[in-house]
């Protein structure tokens, strides 16, 4: 069975990220003859002696002209064991919004450093953003190892320093791997290098092929946002009524006791339908249609959840937002929150803190957030939303903020209000009384008598 792994790459501009991605595609035979021919042609035009693999991945004309990558690009490669969806995110500081976008769906993040410079400010920043977005695993690709004479001690020092930073961000030791590579020459990207006999770990691709991919949300309580009500009203299915959606967290089986939020109605799952037959169980990410025991008033925007472990139903959110728009966010802003399949009006009532990317610390009472800034805010919604802490469930703990005037996506939001400062002196800090998930409305969501 071939599995899918979604990964995101991030690195400084000159670390050779495009070359690394180009190398991954090239060495896994994912670059086909005509693409390679175009790259060779363009390399000759630029006066280069060897094909510039970064040209494989620099897509838009503006990027080719400026020689930078300005938007998230998605790349695809496959081996007999895995299919990879790679979100290639730009390295410039001002493009943090792209790192956030690429990281939001990633199961693994690949960070790139130049072996000659080691872990730099931007490496720490990128790792912090990946940690904030809940990317479960990190790989540090220590690139240009050839330019250090394949120095073992240099690599060890970088790996150790990065490991300590990742640990401070909350990563377990086995979730972080460092690999010495040369994207230019191909050392340890796909094929093992003869120049690093001191390195006993996997090549970058070997690691990507073998790292566990099971969704962290498998063991979580069921969360199923209803997308659409299926009512055929045909001769064959006159009375069929099913609730279509994708399992957001946990698993669903016939017989499960569920609660429908925000109404708080209780019922039981009768069937987990697909066009290919009923399922005995469906896990995170699976699109199915649920048939319930009772005829309830359920529609798009409702959430079907584990009756014994429902999410918090609240109209007061504390959340981390990554501001993605040119216009700044100020307290009092009236916006739309899209959470799951529900979109509701909301007001940002306060901006409590801003994450300082330079010092990886928090600044209290910033007054506003501008493009690419990350902050902790308070949001009041027009209707209560069933939310989970983002650290527990990426799908039901996330939301976006939308400008009601022009429909622009303004921010990525995460329930819980964590900021990616190392050493976990974040929302559990005593000095920060507004942190954490707001009080639960127990009347609606607590298990009945």
């Amino acid at each position: 069975m071939t599995q899918l792994l979604r990964l995101a790459t991030a690195g400084s501009v000159d670390d050779g990220k495009s070359t690394l991605v180009g190398r991954l595609l090239y060495d896994t035979k994912s670059v086909l003859a005509d693409q390679l021919e175009a790259v060779q042609r363009a390399s000759v035009d630029k006066g280069l002696a060897t094909p510039d693999l970064s040209l494989l991945v620099d897509g838009l004309r503006a990027e080719r002209e400026q020689g930078i990558t300005i938007d998230v690009a998605y790349r695809y490669f496959a081996t007999p064991r895995r299919t990879f969806v790679l979100a290639d995110t730009p390295g410039h500081v001002q493009y943090t919004r792209n790192t956030v976008t690429g990281a939001s769906t990633a199961q693994l993040g690949v960070l790139l450093v130049d072996a000659r410079h080691g872990v730099v400010e931007q490496t720490r920043r990128h790792a912090a953003v990946l940690a904030l977005l809940g990317v479960p695993r990190l790989v540090l690709a220590v690139n240009k190892i050839d330019l250090t004479g394949y120095s073992e001690s240099g690599f060890a020092l970088i790996a150790k320093e990065f490991g300590a930073h990742a640990a401070a961000l909350g990563y377990q030791e086995d979730a972080v791997v460092a690999v010495p590579v040369s994207a230019l020459l191909g050392d340890n990207v796909v094929d093992r290098s003869g120049s690093t006999p001191w390195y006993g770990g996997p090549t970058l691709l070997e690691h990507l092929e073998s790292v566990p991919v099971a969704a962290a949300e498998v063991d979580a309580p069921l969360r199923f946002p209803v997308q659409y009500v299926i009512r055929p009203r045909t001769a064959e299915y006159p009375d069929y009524r099913g609730y279509a959606g994708q399992v957001g967290a946990g698993t669903v089986r016939p017989g499960d006791r569920v609660v429908v939020l925000p109404a708080g109605l209780r019922t039981t799952v009768v069937r987990v339908d697909t066009p290919d037959g009923e399922l005995a169980t469906a896990g995170p990410g699976r699109s199915v249609t649920l048939v319930l025991a009772d005829d309830l008033d359920i529609g798009r925007g409702d959430l079907i959840a584990d009756a014994d472990a429902p999410p918090t139903l609240t109209d007061e959110l504390t959340a981390t937002v990554c501001w993605l728009a040119d216009r700044p966010l100020r307290p009092g802003a009236r916006l739309l929150v899209k959470h799951g399949t529900r979109t509701v009006p909301a007001i940002v009532t306060a901006i409590h803190a801003r994450f300082d990317e330079q010092t990886l610390s928090t600044v209290d009472g910033p007054g506003s957030l501008v493009l690419n800034e990350i902050g902790r805010v308070a949001i009041r919604t027009a209707e209560p939303l069933p939310v989970d802490d983002y650290a527990r469930s990426r799908r039901t703990g996330s939301f976006i903020l939308i400008d009601p005037a022009d429909g622009a996506t303004l921010a990525a939001g995460m329930v819980g209000g964590r900021l990616p400062t190392p050493e976990v002196r974040v929302i559990d800090d005593e000095s920060c009384t507004d942190g954490g998930v707001p009080a639960v409305d127990r009347d609606l969501t607590s298990p009945g008598p």
């Binding site: 599995q3 005509d34 695809y76 969704a215 959606g245 994708q246 699109s287």
Partner: protein, 311 residues
């Protein structure tokens, strides 16, 4: 696809989906989001393998209810007969609705002028945009994949288009998690690409797994062809060999379905889906580069056409 739900699978289903299941679930989720948030969606349908897979996924997304959208075919008038027959059979078999925009009508009334080279692929944009406006379609599903071409690698799954159908790279919204933002102003519409994360090989493997029928020209057959710019073209209403181009009889198949004047066949003996999967796995040419003259015009060819409102 089963018409009625069969008994519960007797083996426990893994909770970690395989790659094709994950891609299918993602596409089904996208179809349902659009059905939930838009008033007048439509599926752009060419009769090619990608749009046929789209229709299959749409049927699965709403089963056992019928697909709640129409299909829109922009007919260049340079179609392969096999493809038109296939289209009409598919529509009839599944009770779908079909809207056809005939490029010929735009040429006849002077809104479009035939190009000197006879190629009609670039002429599809105006009839497409006119038809979207006339029917007030607000979401248009396309079979575009990000692996097809460099300019598509940065395309969003929900891609907002202005009143002129244009794609503006700087205006595209960041897409986070699976929270798609389809908000648009009157006159604007959103192109939606449920197959964004599929590769050509994924498409063929899915066709094999789901037993999806395709037009016969995808499979190896004997055809009279002539060579132009390294591609095997076939004679048709769009013209034939020019002086100096000679016709040969070859065993060929098509890897994409498009305007007959610029869609080339490849020499291939792959007569079944399994043989095509094997061939694609070993292929050294991307499908667009091998068979579509319109992408070879310049390095930025696709980007320019996207800005004009092409898919």
């Amino acid at each position: 696809m089963a018409d009625t739900a069969v008994a519960v699978a007797d083996t426990a289903v893994s909770v970690v989906p395989d790659a094709l299941e994950a891609l299918e679930s993602e596409a089904v989720h996208i179809f349902r989001e659009v059905a939930g948030e838009f008033d007048r969606p439509v599926i752009l349908f060419s009769g090619g393998k990608d749009s046929t897979v789209l229709v299959h996924l749409a049927r699965k997304a709403f089963w056992p209810a019928p697909v709640p959208f129409a299909l829109l075919h922009v007919d260049t008038g340079h179609n392969f007969d096999e493809v038109l027959r296939f289209r009409d059979d598919l529509v009839a078999e599944h009770g779908l609705r079909l809207v056809v925009a005939h490029v010929q009508e735009w040429i006849d009334d002077g809104r479009l002028v035939e190009r000197p080279d006879g190629t009609r692929n670039p002429l599809q944009t105006t009839p497409l945009l006119d038809t979207i406006a006339e029917h007030r379609f607000d979401a248009v599903f396309g079979g575009g994949r990000r692996d097809e071409e460099k300019a598509r690698a940065k395309e969003r799954i929900f891609s907002i288009r202005n009143a002129f159908g244009q794609w503006e790279p700087r205006r595209q919204r960041p897409e986070l998690w699976d929270l798609y933002n389809g908000r648009h102003s009157p006159g604007e519409h959103v192109r939606v690409f449920p197959l964004s994360n599929w590769t050509e090989l994924d498409i063929w493997r899915y066709i094999a797994r789901e037993h999806i029928e395709l037009p016969s020209i995808y499979f190896a057959h004997t055809r009279d062809v002539y060579l132009r710019d390294g591609m095997w073209l076939t004679e048709g209403p769009w013209g034939g060999p020019r002086p100096g181009e000679t016709t040969h009889t070859r065993v060929v198949r098509y890897r994409t379905v498009g305007d007959g004047s610029c869609t080339g066949a490849v020499e291939s003996g792959a007569a079944t889906v399994a043989e095509i999967v094997a061939e694609v796995s070993a292929s050294r040419l991307t499908e667009r580069g091998a068979t579509r003259a319109d992408d070879r015009l310049s390095e930025a060819a696709m980007e320019d056409r996207k800005r004009e409102g092409y898919f």
